[in-house]
């Protein structure tokens, strides 16, 4: 335990720690100060921050570009929802069941890709193809109600049931906050461990990594499986928060793209990039929506156009994302990508 604690805190300046404690305290008291709408926005932000962290393990740490992460989230959501609606098994046990399945799906894709030398853009297309395959497959799968969608019973209960994830937005907010914190700590731990340095070596130069004796195949597999398992939680959360699942939505490529926007805009391969990116992006998008509503405009695609423009600007002007330059300015050292 002491080793883990040392790894988590090692190399953090006092200034960084103060910032972190301040940020965490602000997030903990936020629901008391904000109305339900803003709490919901914060849930969405944390949800995307978590998904971004999970994706970042694959792309940011190990350098494998996946554009099909909706697959793992969708599998997680569907497994937890089916277990809940058919057998009354709660979401946490459902998550325990979903994790290995998502990891196995990741392992299959990873095995096929890494064994047969499918790399770079081809790898990205392979991941999209599997997600699309699942989308169409679930659209025809009777056990999950096919395209008609799977609905979770919404019971109005007076108290929050954390075990069964039934309750008000504030409860969901704290669940997602805790999950994001766990993901952040896990990423930090991974990054500072042997596995993280191996990933870094693979990302920077795979041939060189293999030459110095790193088993690149195995470590790339670890990256896909950990990332997939973690991503499955976003699906479980989605299912119980929105209470409905449609293959057309959960497996859609736009879900995968939304997951990667936070880390790309925040900074691929950094710890805080995904979180900052989710805050900036969702904050701006919600402001845009509010402004459009205020002007009485109803433009269903406006938010997505905005995401596209953000992506364009960041990829063009700030290829390392907004967090690394910001961190340097604030004097918080973090390994940039």
């Amino acid at each position: 335990m002491a080793g883990i604690a040392a790894r988590l805190t090692d190399g953090l300046s006092r200034r960084t720690v103060i910032w972190l404690v301040f940020l965490l305290a602000a997030l903990v008291i936020a629901p008391w100060l904000l109305n339900d709408y803003l709490v919901t926005v914060l849930i969405l932000i944390l949800y995307l921050a978590f998904a971004g962290q999970a994706w970042n393990i694959m792309m940011g740490f190990a350098g494998q570009l996946s554009l099909g992460h909706a697959l793992y989230a969708g599998l997680g959501g569907y497994i937890a929802a089916v277990l809940f609606t058919r057998y009354g098994i709660g979401p946490w046990l459902g998550f325990l069941a979903a994790m290995p399945v998502a990891a196995a799906a990741g392992a299959i894709i990873g095995f096929l890709a890494f064994r047969f030398g499918v790399t770079g853009v081809y790898f990205a297309i392979l991941t999209i193809a599997f997600a699309e395959f699942a989308r169409i497959g679930f659209d025809h799968l009777a056990i999950v109600n096919a395209a008609a969608g799977l609905f979770l019973p919404v019971a109005q209960s007076a108290h929050n049931d954390l075990w069964r994830l039934r309750g008000d937005p504030t409860m969901f907010y704290y669940v997602m906050l805790a999950a994001t914190l766990v993901a952040l700590l896990l990423c930090r731990l991974l990054m500072r461990s042997r596995i993280g340095y191996f990933w870094l070596a693979i990302r920077e130069d795979e041939d060189a990594a293999r030459a110095v004796g790193i088993p690149t195949f195995r470590y790339k597999m670890y990256a896909v499986m950990i990332s997939a398992a973690l991503t499955s939680f976003t699906g479980v959360f989605y299912a119980f928060f929105y209470n409905n699942l449609f293959p057309e939505q959960v497996f859609n490529i736009s879900q995968s793209i939304q997951m990667i926007l936070g880390p790309i805009i925040g900074g691929v391969g950094t710890l805080f990039g995904p979180i900052l990116g989710a805050f900036v992006l969702t904050g701006l998008a919600e402001s845009l929506n509010a402004a459009l509503t205020a002007f009485g405009l109803d433009l269903p695609g406006a938010e997505q156009v905005f995401y596209g423009v953000c992506l364009l600007l960041v990829v063009g002007a700030l290829p390392e994302g907004i967090w690394p330059p910001l961190a340097r300015r604030c004097g918080i050292a973090e390994r940039a990508s």
Binding site: G117, G120, A129, I136, L312
Partner: protein
């Protein structure tokens, strides 16, 4: 089911596949020369499809004739996109270019959504329900026209790349970038031209597609993926490969739609993609990369 039903569906699939092939040809040309994967390819096609629909519903202009001006508009779009936006990214890492075009695609889809709304639109030509009968075969006239037009367009492109000086210069850029610079070719301009030509392919294919399928703003990503599946199957960078891949995927989709359910037909295309990526990653007609 009697045999001639299969035959009819297969011929329809092959004709649709020719249009797919022309669409994929655009992707292949762009990748083969500029070495950029155009992840906004299907989205560019949906622009062409909406142009065809608007021209038809406003002025009753036949998409088969409008194919040429629409291809010209898309050419200008592609030229501008390459010289204005993508060119600075030529030397960037692969995933950076990829994300740039994902962004372009995202913007196109949703601008179309804002302008045209989510509803499906169709082109109802006078010959929409005509068909040709050859022995036991009954083939939709629209598909025949579209297929023939696709072949003509592709043939024109082959000739352009083989015969004209500009075509040869573009192939020189593809073969040896540094060499092309050394002999004084304006590579940036040729890249923009190539991207324009690729966009023109997808413009013409889009105009023809309106004869076969309905148009919604959301179909862009589907066709991007389809174009990738076709090009990877046929061999990225190989022009005959793109057409062959298009025919193969068109045929697979048509037969899968008949034997199973039409909505599941893309699964078979993806299955082919996975098999090709695993067992012949250079594609059916592609050369093995170094």
């Amino acid at each position: 089911m009697p045999f001639d039903v299969y035959l009819n569906v297969a011929v329809g699939g092959i004709l649709t596949g020719l249009v797919y092939g022309l669409m994929a040809l655009g992707l292949s040309v762009i990748f083969g020369v500029v070495r950029v994967v155009n992840f906004a390819h299907g989205e560019m096609m949906s622009i062409a499809m909406f142009l065809a629909v608007v021209l038809f519903s406003a002025f009753h202009l036949d998409p088969l004739i409008m194919m040429v001006p629409i291809a010209a508009v898309l050419f200008a779009f592609g030229y501008a996109l390459q010289s204005g936006l993508i060119n600075p990214f030529i030397t960037r890492p692969e995933h950076s270019q990829f994300l740039l075009l994902v962004a372009v695609g995202l913007i196109i889809v949703n601008v179309l959504l804002i302008v045209f709304g989510p509803d499906a639109r169709t082109v109802q030509t006078a010959y929409a329900y005509d068909s040709f009968q050859v022995g036991p075969l009954i083939v939709d006239a629209a598909k025949v026209y579209a297929g023939v037009a696709a072949v003509l367009f592709a043939a024109a492109l082959f000739v352009f790349f083989r015969v004209t000086l500009v075509g040869k210069a573009i192939r020189a850029c593809a073969d040896n970038y540094t060499g092309a610079l050394v002999v004084g070719l304006n590579v940036n301009r040729l890249y923009a031209l190539t991207f324009g030509i690729g966009a023109a392919c997808v413009g013409a294919a889009g105009a023809m597609m309106t004869l076969i399928v309905d148009v919604t703003p959301m179909i862009g990503p589907t066709y991007t993926l389809l174009a990738f599946v076709i090009v990877i199957t046929g061999g990225l960078g190989s022009m005959p490969g793109a057409l062959l891949g298009g025919i193969l995927i068109g045929l697979t989709e048509a037969l899968a739609g008949l034997l199973f359910t039409p909505s599941a037909k893309s699964m078979f295309a993806f299955a082919i993609l996975v098999l090709v990526l695993l067992f012949r990653p250079q594609g059916i007609l592609g050369k093995r990369a170094a």
